[in-house]
């Protein structure tokens, strides 16, 4: 049963079943292709991320797919590793590896696992999958790169349940890491159900602010708003930034949207795949 996202500031409240442009639809189709080849994956968690990652890779991050370890690149850590299908789709789109690799998702011969691995996948900066690790690694990288490189960490809302994330936030503020930006994918749903019921996070922005971050909030599917906010990073000199992205879990497919049953799916049927593709055709 779909539930409506809990309150967000009025101008960043994402709408349900709003239309997608061609690129957002194409990226979701690539995600469904990978998902279908394995019959499994965290589809809802990937779909809420698409616009965030798209704007980062299209407009914000410095990188070179031919030299994924280029020293002057920006680092992107997908701390919510279960959203990796979205990252894989965009990395393939950018040419970090051939798009054909997506069809080997979770296969023995493939490099793309159900969670992303550093050293195995070009463009992946940290092995994640257990929540609450990525921000700490991002803080360490940002400390080492101070003055010469930026680090972006994408966390999930459920991940904000982890104590280690808040430890990392304290340390990021202590070290005044204005080369570190966190994006929280606040789709208001975690595995079991609404975050408001499993473990309430609100007021989430105030928490980050109290921990020493400069906070902005945005509709995480509004491309212009995302672009504008991410271009303002760091939001304030001498402080780490956090962009709370209010999103819709499963964005783009009505029967996925805010539906906990699609947080993770295994043994997806051909019928379900056909329904996903059909829904995206008209999204």
């Amino acid at each position: 049963m779909a539930t409506t996202p809990s309150p967000a500031p009025p101008d960043c409240r994402p709408g349900l079943s709003t239309p997608l442009d061609r690129r957002s639809r194409a990226l979701r189709l690539a995600i469904v292709g990978a998902f279908a080849s394995a019959g499994r994956g965290h589809l809802g968690s990937a779909f809420s991320l698409v616009e965030m990652l798209r704007v980062l890779y299209d407009d914000i991050l410095r990188f070179d797919p031919v030299r994924p370890d280029w020293a002057d690149r920006d680092r992107l850590i997908l701390s919510k590793g279960h959203g990796c299908l979205a990252l894989y789709a965009i990395l393939a789109d950018k040419g970090f590896f051939p798009a054909a690799e997506l069809a080997r998702f979770c296969r023995p011969e493939g490099i793309l696992g159900g969670h992303p691995e550093f050293g195995k996948i070009p463009g992946v900066e940290a092995s994640t999958g257990s929540l609450g690790h990525g921000l700490s690694m991002g803080v360490g990288r940002a400390m080492a790169l101070r003055g010469r490189g930026r680090v972006f960490v994408v966390d999930s809302d459920g991940e904000c349940n982890e104590g280690s994330l808040w430890e990392a936030a304290l340390h990021a503020a202590k070290h005044r890491l204005d080369n570190l930006a966190v994006l929280v994918d606040y789709n208001h749903m975690q595995s079991y159900g609404p975050t408001a019921e499993v473990l309430p996070l609100d007021p989430l922005g105030a928490k980050w602010e109290a921990f020493g971050f400069e906070v902005e909030e945005v509709d995480g599917h509004d491309l212009d708003a995302l672009r504008a906010a991410l271009r303002r990073v760091p939001f304030r000199a001498g402080r780490p930034s956090v962009l709370i992205c209010h999103t819709v879990k499963g964005k783009g497919v009505p029967f996925l949207e805010q539906n906990a049953a699609w947080h993770h799916k295994s043994k997806a049927t051909d019928e379900e795949i056909r329904a996903l593709l059909a829904a995206l055709e008209t999204a």
Binding site: H133, S136, R141, H171
Partner: protein, 309 residues
């Protein structure tokens, strides 16, 4: 031993600009010289071990070599998942320096007694585990840690442990060191238990039983061929460790002995801490004895193996 170890970190940092020091709220004055001379590479952070292991991994992924020191229980238990994933899976060059391996903090109780650190870390792919016997061995060992691939755990004993190793012997990763050549009994120890093994060998000799002492400062990766060469010469083997009998040195030797087809089976006893939390306080020595580790218990175990028919 701790002071020597941290002095070595300072010296390594002077030599190599990749080296950084990380501590979690250590005692006032710790490494003041490092802080004064190399402030950009000295990080005294808060009591956030789980985060700090991840942060150390991040620093290492950008080319730093991180020496991270805090109390052994806190650097192994709370942050175990970070050690597994952030350090081992990323092959991060982070050196965990655990203060107070074993029962060093006897008066402080079970929260501070690192009694299973070797066992849990030994299961992790790519982890190196070192437990030197004294400060001079620490001094020889530390330069070797600089370029080891992946994470390293350095188990510290008590300050002022007697020097039992030979300063002329270079430290080689994985190699066992024969501190005392023996007859057909071999006492095998790790860390500061070498001293107890040597004392027990003296006592045994006085009772007419010649025992050798083999010290293993590296628990992983181990030069098993070299260890087996020593085990092959013995009829009876006694292991002793300031650590639970489950999963540490005794288990390493038991695995080797069980899988090696010796012409005749070895008599073997594992001495270590029982599968129980410490029930009392007192000194390190008194708690060790209470938990079954003393020169007397080693002598008794060795004699017992010989009496067995």
């Amino acid at each position: 031993m701790r002071k020597t170890c941290l002095d070595c970190v300072y010296e390594l940092a002077r030599m190599d600009e990749r080296v950084v020091f990380l501590g979690s709220d250590l005692g006032a004055g710790t490494l003041d010289r490092f802080k004064a001379d190399l402030p950009d590479r000295f990080f005294m952070e808060g009591i956030s071990e789980a985060h700090l292991v991840g942060m150390a991994a991040g620093l290492a992924l950008e080319g730093k070599i991180v020496y991270f020191n805090t109390i052994a229980t806190f650097i192994t238990r709370r942050c175990f998942e970070q050690i597994v994933l952030d350090l081992c899976l990323h092959r991060a060059k982070v050196r965990l320096i655990g203060s107070g391996g074993g029962l060093v903090y006897a008066p402080l109780g079970p929260t501070h007694l690192a009694t299973e650190d070797i066992a849990i870390l030994r299961t992790l792919p790519g982890m190196t585990i070192l437990a030197p016997a004294d400060a001079t061995e620490m001094r020889r060992l530390m330069p070797v840690t600089l370029d080891l691939p992946g994470p390293v755990y350095i188990r510290l004993g008590k300050g002022g442990d007697p020097v039992v190793t030979d300063p002329a012997q270079p430290f080689v990763l994985g190699r066992p060191y024969l501190l005392r050549p023996g007859g057909d009994t071999l006492l095998v120890s790790t860390g500061t238990m070498a001293q107890m093994a040597l004392d027990a060998a003296d006592r045994l000799e006085a009772q007419g039983l010649r025992a050798g002492v083999l010290h293993l400062p590296t628990l992983k990766p181990l030069d098993t061929e070299a260890v087996l060469a020593h085990l092959a010469l013995a009829r009876a083997v006694v292991s002793l460790e300031e650590h639970t009998r489950i999963g540490g040195l005794g288990s390493i030797l038991a695995e080797l002995l069980a899988e090696t087809p010796f012409p005749s089976p070895k008599r073997f006893a594992r001495l270590g801490l029982p599968d129980a939390f410490a029930e009392q306080y007192g000194s390190q020595a008194s708690l060790l004895a209470h938990m079954g580790l003393s020169v007397e218990s080693v002598v008794e175990a060795a004699l017992g193996l010989h009496a067995r028919r």
